[in-house]
Symmetry: C2
DNA sequence: CTAAGTGCAAAACCTTTGCTCCCAT
DNA sequence: ATGGGAGCAAAGGTTTTGCACTTAG
């Protein structure tokens, strides 16, 4: 049983515990988002579920995403004038690198020596100085990915 | 002549240089955004311009914002399911603190000992490791501002 | 003069909502 | 059997677009 399968089982338990139902559609959406390394857009999720449930409606996808957000299972990455993307890794917030040409989103959790602990300290300092109660952050670096650099001779 | 007045004059020069015109509406929008410490929403900008130009249309505001973005004079802060806000400070990108209740956006440039140079180093490291050409970033910390904490007894 | 900009309305998106029928529990 | 969920369509909010008229240069 891999990691994501474990998470999914726990999630099913949590859902049932709250009187929520595990419909085939819902389960499919959950598996798609939690089992995916990429940061999918609503449309990409929609297209993937459609393979199993050709009749599924966008609203169902949105409702399930909403639910997963509320339960803290996924996090949202917002762009200007573009649909949101979702990170189903289940990890705490972490920096992303985003390609401005193809909109790929990559995680940066491997840079632990510069991320991780440092960001915690940073957050704490901000708490102290601004008197805000900081509870989350987003940290996204924008640029051109290697692939797009080559394709555009940059 | 204060700082923002200087910036506006330079901008007017740049615009004229590109065959673009300085209409009263455009100038008003520019002054509102560049001369404002806050991070205004499109609607706030719209309302402010209306004081001088009651007949102005939202499209004009959007078109001017678009122009200023392209010229790199302002930067955009995006939210989920909410209009964007604009930072007309003309400063390089910097971290923000955002209240999740009232959506106020505050700059964090004063925390130079933890921001500034560090972020440059961070960016450089990301360039090296990911082979991306990073050219900008966003770094936003979300939480509850002191005012909202009081108003909600938190 | 004349091309660029304005204002208006319509369109384009993304996301949410309402509602009826259906099905997981 | 019963309340939560699916699917559909309509509505909502933000941003863009098209176009005739106006105006800065």
């Amino acid at each position: 049983m891999d990691n994501s399968e474990q998470r999914i089982n726990k999630l099913i338990f949590r859902l049932r515990g709250n009187g929520l139902r595990i419909t085939p559609q819902r389960l499919s959406i959950i598996k798609i988002i939690l089992g995916n390394k990429n940061h999918l857009s609503v449309d990409e999720i929609f297209e993937k579920v459609k393979r199993n449930f050709p009749m599924i409606g966008l609203a169902t996808v949105y409702k399930t995403i909403s639910l997963l957000k509320e339960m803290g299972e996924i996090s949202e990455i917002n762009f200007h004038n573009q649909g949101a993307r979702y990170d189903g890794s289940g990890e705490p917030p972490h920096p992303h690198v985003i390609c401005s040409m193809c909109n790929t989103v990559e995680d940066l959790d491997n840079l632990t020596d510069i991320g991780g602990t440092y960001i915690d300290k940073f957050t704490k300092k901000i708490n102290d100085r601004t008197r805000y109660q900081i509870n989350t952050y987003r940290m996204d670096f924008f640029g051109i990915c290697p692939k797009c650099q080559i394709e555009n001779n940059q």
